[in-house]
């Protein structure tokens, strides 16, 4: 753990967002994770994404379970709401919280142990329900808190720190999400904020459940030669299939991508964005083709990153259950719970 809190001195160029907050205002407590942990970089990416989106801290809910990953909500946006649940239960608790108060922005932080082992069932159902939240899996292939045993996402053949290879097949959260009908699926790398920050912003703006699998190396137990989740291995085998940037919703601008594969578009605020087309054999809106593309490339040992699949047409939990626009927590109690007499009347209708 660092010897001191981060100095309060700030760079004079530090800008303020529309809320008048600097990026430093989106920070949290000092991290107690190992020095060099990928999770701290994910935290820094979250801080930047929330600052750029100007999310009001008091309108943010940070949800987590148990594990190294689940400690990280402490390290960003001190002024937000937070819930550190039982192991693997974050998805369920977040679903409940979202049901009760749909006005908050939800960020769930989980790990490969929390989401793919003990909490796998809960995560699957949150995907099915399309709960509007950003769900980040900080994926490092090992149980860091218990000293580096293989987790459910460890690849076959990946070596432990002691040199033993893993023999059990991995659970791939991206493949799982595709099969469960997830509406926003992305994969990124903690060491690539240029890609990760826009993906997080897009996930926060998504209509429903945004699943982001972040390869976030465990510097202590899984950053050695032979590991398939190390910094070096991830860098060497990454294939960025889509280039990502987040453009806030505004009036439509139409453009076409020519033969060069890129085109530049002047945005509403005057900034110029360069768009790069996805590969010819890739269509991020076609679930089957994404599935086969990923299977093919992952079979070759590649780590395919980018915003992999997107479907904005599917209603979220509240839309599906036809709940009121207002947060349930704000509905007056006598309306939310009309009393025993009303209940008896309702039941009478079904007799």
């Amino acid at each position: 753990m660092p010897s001191i809190a981060k100095p309060v001195a700030i760079h004079p160029s530090l800008q303020k967002n529309v809320l008048g907050l600097t990026m430093r205002d989106y920070e949290g407590a000092m991290s107690t994770l190992c020095a060099g942990c990928g999770h701290d970089s994910v935290t820094a990416a979250i801080v930047r994404a929330l600052w750029e989106l100007a999310t009001p801290p008091h309108m943010l809910a940070k949800m987590s379970g148990i594990g190294c990953s689940s400690k990280t909500p402490t390290y960003f946006v001190s002024g937000a709401h937070g819930f550190n649940s039982a192991h693997g239960r974050m998805a369920a608790i977040a679903t409940g919280a979202n049901a009760a108060n749909r006005e908050l922005t939800y960020i769930g932080i989980s790990g490969d142990g929390d989401s793919l082992s003990i909490g796998l069932g809960h995560m699957c159902h949150a995907i099915r329900r399309n709960v509007k939240m950003l769900y980040i899996i900080e994926n490092n292939g090992v149980y860091g808190l218990t000293k580096g045993q293989f987790s459910a996402s460890a690849d076959v053949g990946s070596k432990s720190k002691r040199g033993e290879p893993n023999r059990m097949a991995p659970i791939d959260p991206v493949a799982l999400g595709l099969s469960l009908g997830a509406t926003f699926i992305a994969r990124s790398f903690s060491g690539d904020k240029e890609q990760l920050v826009p993906i997080l912003k897009a996930g926060l703006a998504h209509r429903g459940f945004a699943l982001v699998d972040v390869i976030s190396p465990c510097v202590t137990f899984n950053d050695h030669v032979g590991s398939t989740k190390s910094y070096l291995h991830t860098r060497k085998h990454t294939r960025r299939v889509t280039e990502s940037d987040f453009v806030p919703p505004a009036t439509e601008i139409l453009a076409t991508i020519g033969q060069s594969g890129t085109t530049t578009v002047t945005m509403h605020d005057g900034s110029v964005v360069r768009f790069t087309g996805v590969p010819k054999d890739y269509d991020p809106t076609n679930r089957q083709r994404v599935t086969s593309y990923l299977q093919e490339h992952q079979g070759q040992g590649e780590v395919v990153t980018g915003l992999l699949y997107l479907d904005e047409s599917v209603p979220d939990l509240h839309e599906m259950s036809n709940s009121p626009d207002q947060a349930l927590s704000k509905v007056p109690y006598d309306k939310l719970c009309p009393g025993a007499a009303e209940l008896a009347k309702l039941q009478e209708e079904y007799r």
Binding site: P2, A9, S13, D40, S41, T43, S190, K193, V219, Y231
Partner: protein, 600 residues
């Protein structure tokens, strides 16, 4: 861009802005840490090694270190480096045992020195421990030169001056008071092995306007500032008229106006030609003068002295209006200001009426001696200059540095080595790591604001004329001020081959100093930094290509607070906090120039 060579001592030296700005390269952060530990004597001795007069300079230094201080770029106010120097001096213990021993067996070389000011005394200080015999010729009855005659006692008490000059003179210097050198030819005839001239800049500039030389019935009422201050210093005058005008707005003007208040003046006006932003006086000296109810009048150019019936009644000034950058002015009108005395403080210059021009020493077209800026030697071999005598008026700390350099040259000259052969400096880098997230320096950032110096109240300072106005920092102020220092000498040393590009250092850096990016020209790289680099005079560090991606680690040194968090969050110890020690060579110490007072 090119890989930064951190093995060149000047790279890290520049990061220690205060030490870089100090002409004598005083190791400021180290002495501030020693003060923080209550080791005042050690802090004093470390100071003394480079600046020789810590107690004097702790009160009077021009402080080139403070505008350079990195803290000033962060919260607007630099560390009160000068005041802390005084803290070390005020609280030091006995130092006699810590001074270098003076050999009883001399080396047979005799050095003649003209004047007993700071440059001359530094030469004596540096040469006495090596067996030289030093003879100083001083025209006054006490040592110190302009430090004694031009700096009023309310800023620099005589006791402080006496103590620090005595430390050097007690090394066995043969000082001859009341002995002005009247002829260089005669001095050369005394067959010294080398001669050092530190006779200062003793001639105050004249203001040749109508009325300046008119005869006055009531004695001289128009004074040359530095001469007038000297007369006060030696007790030759003790009063001045009720209304005093000071012409000029440099530091001498500040001493003159404050002295006038103590000599009985009721109304004192400092007359400046230009707007305040262009004043030569240090801002703190202006503040101190205004605290004493001195009025500073801008945009007034002296036109003539008004003399009626043989008496000075005042002066006429042209009121000026300046353009935006105060380059060109326009006269608005002429105004009369009454005065009983006028003191001219518009600059001073060196003068060598006693130095015959036919001895082989070249003087330039301004009648200034031609002196080499590195060796301090004139064109007459064996004759050296230093302090204000060398290149005109500068300040005490420059005089000290001239003295050090001249001493090296004199040592070379006397030992038959070329004076141009300068001993090499060097540096030491010592890791400050004590354990996991544990450093041997205090790395926390203290947001405390700069401590304000307390002053003796006005009534008392005008009653007791030589009372020192500044009281010095109290223990609480000292404790807060030392923590404002950012330990800029504790460097972030980077080893590229160890880096795994995990971004931990970049994520934690509070000042966004770090960037990992692809190579490019320096100009191009500066556009791709995590935070824009405003200060183009501060270098950016570029590492060797990193092992995994061949990108570079870039650090903008400008605003680094040296908190060590990059090193704490680095999993591979690619970053380390290492204390930089500049090895400054002094006379006779080429073979062992390591500072003896820097604790490991």
């Amino acid at each position: 861009m090119n890989r930064t060579n951190t093995e060149d001592p000047s790279y890290y030296h520049k990061v220690v802005d205060c030490q870089w700005a100090c002409p004598a390269h005083t190791n400021v952060p180290e002495y501030i840490r020693l003060i923080a530990q209550g080791r005042f004597t050690d802090a004093y001795m470390l100071n003394r090694e480079s600046n020789v007069f810590p107690a004097i300079l702790g009160r009077t230094c021009d402080r080139p270190c403070e505008p350079a201080c990195r803290r000033g770029r962060l919260d607007g106010k630099p560390v009160a480096i000068c005041r802390l120097k005084r803290v070390a001096a005020d609280h030091r213990g006995e130092i006699a045992d810590l001074l270098p021993p003076i050999p009883t067996k001399k080396n047979g070389k005799r050095i003649g020195i003209v004047g007993a000011g700071p440059a001359s005394l530094t030469v004596a200080n540096d040469l006495m421990p090596h067996g030289y015999e030093v003879v100083i010729f001083e025209q006054n009855e006490k040592p110190g030169g302009l430090m004694r005659t031009n700096i009023p006692a309310f800023r620099l008490p005589a006791k402080v001056l006496d103590e620090e000059t005595a430390t050097i003179l007690n090394m066995g210097v043969d000082i001859r008071y009341n002995t002005p050198v009247k002829s260089m030819k005669a001095l050369l005839a005394e067959k010294f092995d080398a001669i050092f001239i530190g006779s200062g800049a003793p001639r105050g500039k004249e203001l040749e306007i109508p009325g300046r030389h008119d005869a006055l019935l009531n004695g001289p009422r128009i004074h040359i500032g530095i001469d007038w201050l000297e007369s006060i210093s030696f007790g030759h005058i003790d009063s001045v008229g009720e209304r005093v005008l000071i012409i000029g707005v440099g530091n001498t003007a500040m001493d003159c106006c404050r002295s006038s208040k103590r000599m009985g003046a009721k109304s004192v006006k400092v007359m400046a030609r230009r707007p305040r932003a262009y004043f030569k006086a240090s801002p703190w000296e202006l503040d101190d003068a205004e605290e004493e109810d001195v009025e500073i009048v801008i945009n007034h150019a002296p036109k003539r002295f008004v003399i009626e019936n043989g008496k000075l009644t005042g002066m006429e000034f042209e009121r000026l209006e300046w353009d935006a950058k105060a380059k060109n002015s326009r006269v608005i009108d002429t105004v009369f200001l009454p005065a009983d005395d006028v003191i001219l403080a518009i600059g001073q210059e060196n003068a060598f009426p006693w130095f015959e021009r036919d001895l082989g020493a070249q003087f330039d077209k301004w009648d200034q001696p031609v002196v080499d800026e590195i060796t301090m030697m004139s064109t007459l071999p064996g004759v050296f200059f230093g302090g204000d005598a060398a290149f005109g008026p500068k300040n005490i700390i420059w005089a000290v540095e001239h003295g050090h350099q001249a001493a090296i040259s004199i040592d070379n000259y006397c030992q038959d080595a070329p004076v141009t052969e300068r001993p090499a400096g060097g540096m030491n880098l010592i890791s400050q790591k004590m354990g996991l997230s544990e450093w041997s320096y205090h790395n926390d950032y203290n947001p405390a604001s700069r401590q304000k110096m307390s002053h003796v109240d006005l009534a008392r300072r005008f009653r007791q004329l030589d009372i020192e106005v500044e009281l010095g920092f109290d223990p609480e102020q000292t404790a807060r001020e030392v923590q404002r220092c950012l330990n800029c000498d504790v460097q972030t040393e980077f080893t590229a081959v160890r880096c795994i590009e995990c971004d931990a250092c970049i994520d934690i850096c509070p000042l966004q100093c770090l960037t990992i990016t692809r190579d490019g020209s320096e100009e191009d790289l500066r556009t791709r930094l995590s935070a824009p680099a405003f200060n183009l005079t501060q270098a950016i560090f570029a590492s060797a290509p990193l092992p995994q991606t061949s990108r570079l680690m870039i650090k903008d040194e400008d605003l680094c607070v040296h908190c060590g968090l990059c090193a704490e969050r680095c999993p591979t110890a690619a970053w380390d906090m290492q204390k930089f020690e500049l090895e400054i060579p002094y006379a006779g110490r080429a073979e062992a120039c390591t500072s003896s007072y820097v604790p490991a």
